[in-house]
Symmetry: C2
């Protein structure tokens, strides 16, 4: 996951509660068990969320737990899904997630892709009838652990306007490419295809700050720097921000994610993607089932010996890391490196949670009659 603004420092301003990994993991598993998940699914779902929190991607970790619970309460998430392969060739497949948590459906799909890659060199799975799958990087990393190159993408609730449009027609539709290195952490490019992710707007809202031009437009499609504009009908802008700076490319990437994840699998696409928030109903004229993902795995040794590849990727990393920079205090950041550093640190020191998240989580604990989080 490649992010330059790590939210940790902002959260620290709000004096977060620090929770050890094992405590937070058990708590999260207990919530999923209370929702009716099997032991295996509860563990897996918690693992996906914890990975995000450990890697410093706080917006996609346990902060989302209350969102999953609310969708389950609305019967939009099925915690006992019968995940099935509905179509397949030796190296491709379409999976129906049976409205399950994306946190379990996407790893199922990626394991299928990995199995196919073991046998034939590569495997590609498009997924329909799923829900939010957490961080794309989790799924792509499953391939990397097998000395494969991992691909993961998903469509999402419409929040982004194509170039020239004033309508929200695409999600932030992240794409992730992950590569195993030798001495260094894997190179993981994991990025929303919008100029800025929603999480950055939330931080600005909390701090009462304006956002840069080029992140969002208001309900009439006019440029704005008000971070609340999204809530009042505005939209996020594609990567590139405006036509002059290549926003048609960000739109093209978001479109690619939408087509591979949903037009290919039979999920909903474009403005028909069901919203993640439970207070908004899904469109009543669906064009498919649930939301869609696309994952893939290619064996590195399907192209060249793994050791050779890793040695050259290490060389690539070293050359880019040692690049001359404009400001000597700012170094070139290798995609995935800050997240690997955060993971190493938080595995020891614990995960900081802001007050609002602790309040949400302890509300869930009360609802389900399980132990609360404490400092």
């Amino acid at each position: 996951m490649l992010r330059l603004l790590r939210p940790i420092p902002v959260y620290i301003i709000f004096a977060p509660l620090i929770i050890t990994e094992s405590v937070l993991r058990r708590f999260t598993e207990n919530i999923f068990l209370a929702m009716g998940c099997s032991e295996e699914h509860a563990q897996l779902s918690a693992d996906v969320l914890l990975k995000s929190d450990l890697r410093g991607i706080d917006s996609h970790g346990v902060a989302r737990l209350i969102g999953y619970v609310r969708l389950w309460e609305k019967k939009r998430i099925n915690t006992k899904p019968n995940i099935s392969i509905v179509h397949e060739t030796p190296t491709t497949a379409t999976v129906d997630g049976d409205a399950g948590l994306g946190l379990v459906v996407a790893p199922f799909a990626m394991q299928l892709a990995i199995n196919k890659a073991e046998k034939y060199g590569s495997g590609w799975v498009s997924v329909r009838n799923s829900n939010h799958f957490g961080i794309a990087g989790y799924h792509a990393l499953l391939a990397v652990e097998n000395d494969m190159i991992g691909f993961a993408m998903t469509n999402a609730s419409p929040l982004v306007s194509p170039t020239y449009s004033s309508e929200r027609l695409l999600g932030t539709n992240p794409m992730c490419y992950a590569f195993p290195a030798g001495k260094y952490p894997p190179v993981i490019v994991d990025m929303a295809t919008s100029a800025a992710a929603n999480g950055k707007l939330e931080i600005a809202q909390r701090l009462g700050k304006q956002v840069p031009e080029g992140w969002i437009q208001d309900i009439d499609g006019q440029p704005t720097t008000d971070p609340h504009a999204l809530k009042s009908g505005g939209s996020l802008l594609p990567l590139g921000s405006d036509a002059e700076h290549g926003s048609h490319k960000g739109f093209g990437l978001g479109a690619t994610v939408d087509i591979l994840s949903a037009v290919l699998s039979g999920a909903n696409y474009g403005p028909w993607v069901p919203p993640f928030v439970s207070f908004l109903d899904p469109p009543n004229d669906p064009v498919g089932s649930g939301i869609g993902h696309f994952v893939g795995a290619m064996r590195v040794d399907g192209f060249r010996p793994v050791d050779e590849f890793k040695a050259h990727l290490d060389n690539w990393i070293e050359r880019f890391k040692s690049s001359a920079t404009v400001d000597p205090d700012k170094k070139v950041i290798i995609p995935g490196e800050p997240e690997a550093a955060a993971e190493a640190e938080r595995k020891v020191s614990g995960v900081p949670l802001v007050d609002a998240v602790v309040t949400d989580l302890n509300g869930l604990a009360e609802k389900f009659g399980i132990g609360k989080l404490e400092a």
Copy 2:
């Protein structure tokens, strides 16, 4: 190919010579034959360049012919290559282009990917020891013609600085994703991973205009609007332009292209990629062979019936095309649509060539003793 600024209007200002497709095709084939290409390779190379000119992507068509000739004169292009498969599994392969024209090496690789996809559902080929392959869209379209989804990317001469860097470490590294539609032209996302392509700078230079901030930086890494800054040691900026607007994402995409095309195949990567221009020598400490490409094909019916996919992609296109826009004169542009329109028009009306290109081409005609282009 998704481009908002089609160069045609600019060129028309310069009173171009209009050449019919068949005349320009024969002329181009004759140049390749004179360089020692086989009949088959000359036809294929001309087809790749003509496709670009017909589709309105004038920067990548016959305007590049003189560049290929100069590299051949420097013995950096081998017009009688023994293109070989050096490593393979049922669905993956590495191809060595034997320093051939990318215009023939990439179609060889894509045909191999298509053959694998026919048998196993998908095929993926990484290529080393190649040269500039023209427009990525040409190669991806070969898959589309077989009701497959096409992927094509290539690394290129270093001109782009990663976020925070003042060095040129990546090429404009285009990526292309192409999808077959039903009633409509294929959706083709074909984009440089830089904020602006080099061709747009050339247009600004010719018109004596400044370029927008966010396209380039000068040799010290400072923002500039001087389109000549690139020639004096400056660099292009990644898609996103600056850290605040997500240039780390453009960098991540360019890195992905570099790794899949070159670290995976054994080609040169990053700053070691040989320059396209013949007056600059390749680095004397290569880390691989030539430049690299990556292509892939996936059968649509490996996921769902082709007719279903095409009907839904048509629906996707119609929904996006009919989107409300901010300016009623500007519609949402479907990736690949303007190029398909240009191709339909230029197949009838011919290809407009600016004076500078005609002068170059007729210089080549003289050099090789073949007939000149005339109005």
